[in-house]
C-alpha cells in the first residue's frame, strides 16, 4: 500500500464519518435531554429521499439540502408526539418511526432509483487543496463535510455553556425534578428533537447528495443505529463523537481501499468491519464508563418492561 492509498483512505474516512457524525450529534442532543431515538435511521432515510427527489426535480441542490433537512426535522417531531406528548415506550416508538421512515422514503424515492445527479460541489480549502497530488485530496470536500466539525463544537458549547443546554441536561437527568424546578421539560425536549432532526437530516442528505449521489432503498445501511452506538462510547459528548465517527469512517475506508487494491478478501466480509468495530469499541471502551449516561436514560434501558 502506497501513500496515495493511505491518503485516499483518510479522505474516504472523513466523508463517511461525516454522514454518521451528523446523526450522532443529533442523538447526543436528544439523549442528553432524556430521549433515546432509535428512529434516526428512518429520519436519515426520509431526508435522503426528500433531498434527492427535490434536487432531481428542481435541479437546485441547495433547495434539495434544505428540503431534506426540513423533512428530517418534521419527521423527528413525530417521535416527540409519540414519546413526549403520548409517553409511549421510547424504544418501540423509535423503531416504528424507523419502519415508517423506511416505507415512506421508499415511496418517495421509488421513481428516482438509478438516476444520477451532480451532487454537492467539492470545495477546496484555500491554499491547502492545491498541495501536490495525494495530499490535496484531504482538503477537497463538500460543504456539509466542512461544516460538521464546527457544528460539533457549537453543540458542545450549547450543551455545556448555555442556559438552554443546562436546562436540557437537567431534563435528561430527571424530568420530574426539572419540572418541579419550573422548567418546561416537554418544550425543551421538542426543541431538542427539532434540532436533532435537522442534524440527522444533514447526515441523510450528505449520504445521498454528497457521498453516493444516488438514491437506493435502505441506503443508510444502519448508520443511524451505528450513530447511537457512537453516542454511547463517546460518553454523550459531542467532541468525542468526532473521534467515534472517524473510527466508523476508517473501518469503512479500510474495506473500500482493500477492495480497490484487489485484495482477495470477500467484500461482504470487509463490509462487516464497521459493525464489528463499533460493537467491539462499545464493549471494550464504552462499557466500563457507561455510568456517565444521563440518569433519565436508565429508565429507558433497564426498565424496558414498562
Amino acid at each position: 500500500m502506497n501513500l496515495a492509498v493511505w491518503v485516499g483512505g483518510i479522505a474516504i474516512a472523513i466523508q463517511v464519518g461525516t454522514s454518521v457524525l451528523y446523526p450522532t450529534l443529533g442523538e447526543v442532543l436528544g439523549q442528553r435531554g432524556g430521549l433515546v431515538n432509535l428512529g434516526i435511521e428512518g429520519v436519515m432515510l426520509m431526508s435522503a429521499a426528500v433531498g434527492y427527489a427535490v434536487t432531481a426535480v428542481t435541479g437546485n441542490i441547495v433547495l434539495g439540502v434544505l428540503a431534506g433537512v426540513a423533512a428530517g426535522a418534521g419527521f423527528n417531531l413525530l417521535f416527540g408526539v409519540l414519546v413526549v406528548t403520548r409517553r409511549s415506550n421510547q424504544l418501540a416508538s423509535g423503531l416504528s418511526l424507523y419502519f415508517l421512515g423506511a416505507g415512506l422514503s421508499a415511496l418517495i424515492g421509488a421513481s428516482y432509483i438509478g438516476e444520477r445527479i451532480d451532487g454537492l460541489r467539492q470545495l477546496g480549502f484555500p491554499g491547502l487543496s492545491s498541495l501536490p497530488d495525494p495530499w490535496g485530496r484531504l482538503f477537497q470536500h463538500d460543504m456539509l463535510v466542512w461544516l460538521v466539525a464546527p457544528i460539533a463544537f457549537l453543540l458542545w458549547w450549547v450543551l455545556s455553556r448555555t442556559r438552554w443546554g443546562l436546562k436540557l441536561r437537567a431534563t435528561g437527568e430527571d424530568r420530574n425534578i426539572a419540572y418541579a424546578a419550573g422548567l418546561h421539560p416537554s418544550r425543551l425536549q421538542y426543541q431538542a428533537l427539532a434540532i436533532a432532526g435537522c442534524l440527522s437530516g444533514f447526515g441523510g442528505v450528505e449520504l445521498a447528495l454528497g457521498y453516493t449521489k444516488t438514491w437506493q432503498e435502505f441506503m443508510t445501511t444502519g448508520r443511524g443505529f451505528i450513530a447511537i452506538m457512537i453516542v454511547i462510547f463517546s460518553l454523550w459528548h459531542p467532541l468525542r463523537a468526532i473521534g467515534g465517527a472517524l473510527l466508523f469512517g476508517a473501518a469503512t475506508a479500510i474495506g473500500l481501499q482493500l477492495q480497490a487494491q484487489g485484495a482477495s478478501i470477500s467484500p461482504y466480509l470487509l463490509d462487516m468491519l464497521p459493525y464489528l468495530a463499533t460493537l467491539t469499541v462499545v464493549l471494550i471502551w464504552g462499557r466500563p464508563r457507561a455510568f456517565t449516561a444521563p440518569m433519565g436514560l436508565r429508565e429507558v434501558f433497564q426498565g424496558t418492561a414498562k
Binding site: L91, L104, F225, V282, A305, K306
Partner: protein
Amino acid sequence: MAVAPTHPHSFRIFLSPRATSAAARGGLVVAAAFGAFALIMILYGKSPLGALRDMVSSTLGTSYGLSEVLVKMSPMLLTAVAVTVPARLGLVNVGGEGQMFIGGLCATWGALTFKGLLPGWLLIPLMAALAFAGGGLWGGITGWMRARGWLTEVFSTLLLNYIGILLVNFLVFGPWRDPGSGNYPQTKPIPDAAHLPLLGETRVHVGIFVGIVAIVLFYLFLKKTRWGLQMRAAGGNPVAAAQTGLSVARYIVIAMVVGGGLAGLAGMTQVAGIQFRLNPGLTTYVGYTGFLISWLSGHRPLMIVPMAFLLALLAGGGDILQITQGVPYAIVNVLVALSLCLILAVRARRVTS
C-alpha cells in the same frame, strides 16, 4: 409492557367500560390507517376502493390467493413469537432478521452436508435443530451481553442483523455458491429428502403448524407453569423479582436463546419449504414484520395468529397492487408502520400514570 391483568370477572358477557374503550381505540386506529391508505392512493391518482377490492379479491377471493396468504403467514408466526418471548421479560428483540438468516444458513449447511446420508425423517429434524441452535446462538449472544449489563439487546440485535446478512452474502457469493446457477447468488439446491411436506396441492408447507404449535406452547407456558409465572413477574418488575431470589439474568439469556431459535426455525422453514436453497432473498424482511406483529398484538401470544394473518393479507395485497395499480409495494410497509405508531400513541397513557 405491562403484564395484561387477568380479570377476575372475565366470564361476564357484557363488555366492561374498559373493553368498549379499547374497542373504540382499535376502531380509531383501523379508521386512521385506512384513511392514510386512501390518501396515499389518491395521491397516486388511483381509486382507494378499487385498490381495496383488488387486494381483497386477489387474496381472500380465490383458494390459490388464500393459500398464498398462508404461505406468507407461516414464517411471520415464528418471527413474531420470537419477539414475543423476550418481550414478556421487557426485552426488545429486533434481531429476527439476522437470526432468521443464521437459521437458514445452518439448516442449509445441514441439508447439503448430510445429503444422501440421512433419510428425510432424520434430515428435517436435524436441520430444524441446527437452525434453532444457530438462531439461538445469534440471539443468545445479545441476551448474554444484556444479562451481564454490557449492552442493551436493542442495539446488539440490530447490529447482528447486518452482520448476519453479510455472512450469508459472503457464503452465497463465495464458498457456497452454486457454479451452475449462472448469475444468481445462491447455494446448490437442498436434496428432495430435506423438503418439508406440503398440504395438498398448494405451496403451504407444514412450517405453519410449527409456528402455531410454538405459539400455543408459549401461551400454555406463560399461563400454566411456575416458570411462566416467574417470567411474567420478572418482566413486570425485574427489581422486585430479583429480590425474591429469581435469577433474572438467567431468564434473559434463555428468553433470547428461545426467541433467536424460533426466528432461526423461520429461516429453516423458508429454506426447506419455499426456496429449497440459501440466497440473500431468504427473509423478505419477515424478521422485521414479526417485530411489528408482536407489538401490534400487545405481546399476547394468541393474538399473533390473527395479526399475522392480517399482515400476510396486506403483504399479498401489496404484491397485487404493484401489478394491478402500479403503485410501489412500500405502501403496505407505510400502512403497517403507521398503524403501529397509532397504536403506541393511543395505548401509551394507560400504562404510565
